[in-house]
């Protein structure tokens, strides 16, 4: 038995992720929703109605379906691939193609690709076409089976961000299968961790999953750095940023001396726009002739307020001085913060048990 007595209440207009080890029955569960697999017993209700009650093709046409290798039709151009379901629903050719072009834009595909064939596209682009095709008839439900697992990590991250953005605009009810817990945590509004035999191990929002795994199986599945991952759910907004140890590159000797406080052993030098250049010890800075080559690298800055504590900590850990640089949306320095301060913020957040709803990065 692939899936045994699974009971799930999938919330409307949000992303529910099914995650679990290979062979645990995720695909089988997903395919029961569009009746690609018929359950031997039990029922599936959609908006309170048994899905068995309508014809199988009507049901499927009301659900987008995206699979691992996109499954595009090699003999059709990109627009015609995307226009498939509208055409099946009886739309005219031109109207269906127009709709297809709209969707290409929505999923971030260049309009120039419309007349190409699938073999002329990269794996990531093909996957976008697969998503566009699933969305073409504006179905309320979207079923996705490991849609991003065949592309490299950078492209995958792009596709995940795109999906979240599209979801923000369209508000579909999405069931998303993956075996990648990071993807599940990033994408899911609710995450169902499944164990072999299709049994439910835990069904919870990602932050709750990370903070209180139901049992050892879930804890193992979350992996060793679940503590660090959990920081993704704490905002960096409350961090006390210091602006004192920041000087512009044209600073005078007095300004440098004034900034040399006991608070920070290093000063962050910025260019005239306020963008970070690098760290230096105060005594190594000569007013009027700061050598950019002598500055210590500042690592990867985090966006204050938008990024999570995880990004802030990562930044501090990567920085040779142990201090993280916070920037605003334009990349100008908003302040600097030490590892100690970040650690205190983490302790504070844990103590409060507070999880800001999902934070980027």
């Amino acid at each position: 038995m692939a899936v045994d007595r699974l009971s799930l209440d999938i919330p409307d207009r949000s992303i529910t992720v099914l995650v679990g080890p290979s062979g645990c029955g995720k695909t089988t569960t997903l395919r029961m929703i569009n009746r690609m697999v018929e359950p031997s017993e039990g029922t599936i209700l959609l908006d309170g109605k048994d899905i068995q009650q309508q014809s199988v093709n009507t049901l499927r046409r009301s659900m987008g379906y995206v699979i691992q290798n996109a499954g595009l039709f090699q003999h059709r151009t990109i627009v015609d691939n995307i226009a498939t379901v509208p055409r099946m629903l009886g739309w005219g050719k031109e109207k269906a193609r127009e709709r297809a072009r709209e969707l290409m834009e929505r999923v971030g595909l260049d309009a120039a690709l419309a007349k190409r064939y699938p073999y002329q596209l990269s794996g990531g682009q093909q996957q976008r076409v697969g998503v566009a095709r699933a969305l073409a008839a504006d179905p309320p439900v979207l079923l996705m089976d490991e849609p991003f697992s065949a592309v490299d990590p950078v492209v995958r991250k792009g596709l995940q961000d795109e999906l979240l953005r599209i979801q923000e605009e369209l508000g579909k009810t999405i069931v998303f299968v993956t075996h990648d817990i990071d993807e599940a945590v990033k994408i899911g509004t609710m995450v169902a961790v499944m164990r072999t035999g299709g049994r439910l191990a835990q069904f919870a929002p990602p932050a709750e999953l990370l903070s209180s795994p139901a049992d050892e199986f879930v804890e193992d599945f979350l992996g060793a750095d679940r503590g660090i991952r959990r920081l993704s759910f704490f905002s960096s907004a409350g961090l006390g940023l210091l602006t004192a140890p920041v000087v512009a590159i044209d600073a005078t000797a007095e300004q440098i001396a004034a900034r040399d406080t006991a608070e920070a052993p290093y000063l962050l030098v910025t260019d005239l726009d306020g963008k970070p250049l690098g760290w230096s010890e105060p005594q190594d800075l000569t007013a009027g002739s700061v050598d950019k080559g002598q500055l210590l690298s500042y690592g990867r800055p985090f966006v204050a307020g938008t990024d999570s504590l995880r990004a802030a900590l990562d930044c501090a850990v990567l920085s040779p001085t142990g201090w993280a640089v916070a920037v605003d949306a334009e990349g100008r320095v908003a302040g600097v913060v030490s590892q100690q301060t970040i650690a205190e913020a983490i302790r504070g957040a844990h103590a409060e048990g507070r999880t800001d709803s999902k934070v980027a990065g």
Binding site: M36, G71, F73, Y117, P118, Y119
Partner: protein
């Protein structure tokens, strides 16, 4: 006397271009037999191959039939049919069709089975009917191989349709059979050359057909 000389002599003789035994008539007859036999074989082989390939059922039975069909000696069948039913076109068509069905049937079945399963799964998942899956997804992808099967069947028919002459029918076999009987080697070589040319024309026709019907997306993605 060499082959080229015979060919030259055969084709430059004006008498060979006229009348009921002239080249145009014999070629037309040969083409007619070929088209009829191919149409009949395709009418049997294509639907059966498409449906069994689509459903994936009956593959074993199918390869048995095909092997049996291939094992039947074409000429023997012709003699048998003639002994049983006397002279007539049906006696010629039967062995030709029996010859052509196996390559069409087997390649069509295999072409359908070798279609990438993921677009098929995607098509079903988006609510396409089974007929839609067969004709709009599987067939366009399987078409190059299917055309290949039809092409080899057609070539086999073109070369084998010469047997019609043994049962007093026309076609290019006439030149070969009569030539051998009359010890007129010019005629034999000329007839054989025409059969070869017709086979090449068949290749060209199928090449053109595949350019026209196979999508660029399928051709390029191999």
């Amino acid at each position: 006397m060499n082959g080229l000389h015979y060919i030259n002599a055969f084709f430059s003789d004006n008498a060979h271009w006229q009348g009921y035994d002239g080249i145009p008539t014999r070629v037309a007859e040969h083409i007619q037999y070929t088209l009829e036999a191919l149409a009949l074989a395709a009418a049997i082989g294509l639907p059966v191959g498409l449906v069994t390939g689509h459903t994936g059922r009956g593959g074993n039975a199918l390869s048995l039939i095909a092997t049996a069909g291939r094992a039947l000696p074409t000429f023997g069948l012709l003699v048998l049919m003639t002994l049983l039913f006397g002279f007539g076109l049906v006696n010629v068509m039967t062995p030709l069709v029996v010859l052509a069905v196996p390559p069409i049937l087997v390649t069509t079945y295999e072409a359908m089975r070798s279609v990438d399963p993921s677009p098929v799964d995607a098509a079903r998942g988006m609510g396409m009917s089974e007929a839609g899956v067969l004709f709009q997804v599987e067939l366009p992808a399987a078409l190059p191989l299917i055309l290949g099967g039809l092409r080899s069947a057609a070539i086999q028919i073109v070369s084998t349709a010469t047997i019609a002459a043994y049962v007093s029918l026309g076609g290019l076999g006439r030149y070969i059979v009569d030539g051998l009987y009359q010890r007129n080697y010019e005629k034999v070589v000329g007839g054989a050359t025409l059969v070869a040319v017709l086979a090449l024309v068949t290749l060209a026709v199928f090449w053109a057909a595949s350019r026209l019907t196979v999508s660029r997306g399928v051709r390029a993605s191999g």
